[in-house]
């Protein structure tokens, strides 16, 4: 294969936009959760389990976590694009990161809804 500089993959905007949107989701959830927890006079295990027994909280927690994983994917991909130059190695790291994040997403569902 010739060693030419190639650009023009024609993507990037969607990822950039999604990174911004997921950041907003994480900020809103993070602040809301922090405010709720700080407002509890006695923060203990019972309060915590009561909070996470609500389907709404679980759903929004999952939304937060999925946002986190998507956000992390774009961020880590950008770092790898900057610092890892060999294409094969880069592709391998990309695949590993995607698989790990998918695993985390499945694990999150299990934590939130599992026994």
């Amino acid at each position: 294969m010739v060693n030419r500089v190639v650009t023009g993959a024609h993507y990037g905007l969607r990822d950039w936009l999604i990174q911004r949107i997921t950041a907003v989701v994480m900020a809103v959830y993070g602040v809301a959760l922090a405010v709720y927890l700080l407002m509890q006079p006695y923060l203990n295990y019972d309060v915590w389990t009561a909070l996470f027994s609500s389907q709404v909280v679980r759903t929004f927690s999952l939304l937060f976590l999925l946002s986190l994983f998507y956000h992390a994917w774009i961020g880590i991909r950008d770092i790898v694009m900057d610092y890892v130059k060999p294409t094969a190695l880069r592709l391998m790291i990309h695949v590993l990161v995607i698989l790990a994040l998918l695993l985390y997403a499945i694990w999150s569902v299990e934590i939130l809804w599992g026994m």
Binding site: T7, Y11, G12, D15, W16, D82
Partner: protein
């Protein structure tokens, strides 16, 4: 005044080194010249082996861009009185050094040319000029003033890591200069060309470009405007 200047002559030196110079001048005394370039020319009288680029000596040509005490700037419009001693001068970072303070700008201009820095308009040229309203012309303010000195692009970490793929702040500012021009008809093609994870989206809003620009331009804002137009086009 004390100076420490980066020296490298590929014909004689195996590696670069810093050389000390001292000038008997006081920055307050304007009869001896007030700007860093004046001091550099005095140093060159002491040691004519020192190589640097300069031309207009008033911040218009952009030739004497260099790294001054760790910050990119133009020597000709940097007042000596603003500098902490010893004044450490290095070539612009991120580009190959040809000699001393002179860098090879090929990569920089390659990126600049890649954005097609000229008006694309397929209508037959009118008898006089292509007219713009004052409001349309106002959109070019803060864009057309760029002198391509390279201070911003060589201060950008994203350019350091991907100089062959990332257009860089100077190139992107000029890309937006033609996107913003109502006389240009290639907006969509220009956006297509820039919609790329490397060419545009290596910009992570670090804003070193805004920090160092000697003409006080704002490439980050221009890049944001390009992204906004892409979003507008997509949604």
């Amino acid at each position: 005044m004390k100076f420490k200047i980066y020296r490298y002559n590929p014909d004689t030196d195996t590696e670069p080194y810093m050389q000390d110079y001292e000038l008997d001048i006081r920055p307050e005394d304007s009869s001896q010249g007030k700007m860093l370039l004046d001091a550099l020319l005095l140093i060159k009288q002491q040691d004519d082996s020192l190589a640097l680029r300069k031309s207009c000596r008033e911040g218009v040509c952009g030739s004497d861009a260099m790294n001054i005490n760790g910050r990119n700037g133009l020597a000709c419009i940097t007042p000596l009185s603003s500098l902490k001693e010893p004044v450490e001068l290095r070539p612009l970072p991120g580009l190959p050094v040809i000699r001393d303070l002179i860098v090879d700008m090929t990569q920089f201009f390659k990126q600049y040319h890649s954005i097609k820095p000229y008006l694309i308009n397929n209508d037959p040229p009118p008898e006089t000029e292509r007219l713009q309203s004052p409001q349309q012309r106002a959109h070019l303010n803060g864009l057309y003033e760029c002198i391509l000195c390279g201070c911003c692009t060589t201060a950008c970490p994203s350019f350091w890591w991907n100089p062959d793929k990332f257009v860089g702040p100077a190139g992107l500012l000029q890309a937006y200069r033609f996107i913003a021009d109502t006389r240009d008809q290639a907006t969509s093609e220009r956006l297509d060309d820039l919609e790329d994870p490397y060419r545009l989206f290596r910009c992570h809003t670090i804003m070193n470009c805004v920090d160092v620009c000697p003409k006080e331009l704002n490439p980050t804002e221009a890049i944001g405007n390009i992204k906004d137009l892409m979003v507008k086009r997509m949604v």
